[in-house]
Symmetry: C2
Subunit: 218 residues, 2 copies
DNA sequence: CCTAATTGGAACAACGATGTACCAGAAATG
DNA sequence: CATTTCTGGTACATCGTTGTTCCAATTAGG
């Protein structure tokens, strides 16, 4: 041990939140989100390149890959919560709140893909309860049940799943087939309405060779 | 070189379809499907172990990983086509055909997860046209349009996407939350009905603080 | 029972991804 | 302008996966 010198130089542990550092950190996280949205298994080299940053620097901010994904998860949770806040889940009917939520989520773009590929985010719904949104998604669904705007047989978990499944479908459609975003969003909302809305009058009285009921009961 | 002897011994190229071989091959493919359903990036060692087969043998049947996934894709296409055949897409109304298709697909179990994780299967719909099913999914959707059992604004691609999205959601729900399969299937069909069915009478006349129409048009 | 087919294990080479150490150049900060 | 901070490249060690080779043991089938 040398005396009480402030250590030679190689030391990344003190993390002063200097503007330069936070800017670089942000750039890396954004690039990482963009990359992992395209290819969930992008190598650190690719991510560093996408961030216009040396791989060394990347490791300086996120020593291990784990740390990077932790950072990304953090970003996602934050964005998702902000989106939920903007959707004002506590207002209006249950279904209208879900509409606004879809709208906000859909606007998150690339982040959607990341949410889907990251088990920590799709599996656990740990993020939706904590922050000060004041009204969780399941609360909203239950309000829709009382509302009459959401079928009471549709459990909150199922509704949530359908919402995400439709968002995913819409986003891929937009990414692969190049369907305009507005069109896709309209389809999502339309499908969501029907999928979780009250049963209404059973389909097709257009007189065809079979009716839906016989299938439903089978 | 020795004389005209039938080659020393090291030669796997001649592939006689002896019963033993086809049995082993089948076992490997089945184990691979089961493994990749759980973890899409399972190593060849894991897959070999799951198949109760040495890694050497695995390589003997599928020299490269590519070859294995090709084999799996082949299996999936076959299963999907058989399922579509069983669904008799050409019969009944459009929506009832979709119901039967969901039923058959859902019964494929683990294979569903593989289909989802394999880009070759979800991206391209190359498999649904070729074989002798006689009636493709898009044909069925179009019939539903004439039928009046499927909303004409729902493009075949979108309907197909929704169907898969709901299947995926249902399957994960069943796998993670342990919801009984029958319940899940009922939910899938119910949601599919609403999602792609004709608009019917707009939601909730249960007199609440907002109506669906204002949201839909926004 | 005897032969040929089939298998499984060990050992090895190659590869890419990850993580670390070091150092010289660039950039910011005073 | 001088100094601290920050960066980026090179080089290196490590690890897991993949693919190959060889051979001994097992198994199937006549």
């Amino acid at each position: 041990m040398t005396s009480a010198a402030p250590a030679p130089s190689a030391d990344t542990s003190p993390r002063p939140h200097t503007p330069v550092r936070s800017r670089t950190r942000k750039a890396i996280l954004e690039a990482a989100v963009a990359m992992l949205a395209t290819n969930p298994q992008a190598s650190l080299t690719e991510i560093a390149a996408a961030a216009a940053v040396g791989r060394t620097t990347l490791h300086r901010y996120f020593p291990e890959r784990t740390d990077l994904v932790a950072g990304i998860v953090e970003v996602c949770v934050e964005q998702l919560n902000q989106a939920a806040g903007r959707a004002r889940l506590a207002e209006g009917t249950g279904i209208s709140a879900l509409h606004r939520l879809c709208h906000e989520y859909f606007a998150l773009g690339d982040l959607l893909s990341v949410v889907f590929s990251e088990p920590q985010l799709s599996d656990e719904s740990s993020w939706q309860e904590d922050s000060g949104v004041g009204c969780s998604l399941s609360d909203t669904v239950r309000r829709g049940h009382s509302d009459g705007t959401i079928d009471s047989e549709m459990a909150p978990d199922w509704v949530e799943g359908v919402l995400w499944a439709l968002l995913y479908n819409g986003w891929s459609q937009q990414a692969k087939a190049g369907t305009p975003k507005l069109t896709v969003l309209r389809m999502i909302l339309r499908s969501l309405d029907g999928a979780v809305g009250p049963k209404a009058a059973l389909v097709g009285d257009s007189g065809m060779e079979g009716n839906g009921r016989s299938i439903l009961s089978s």
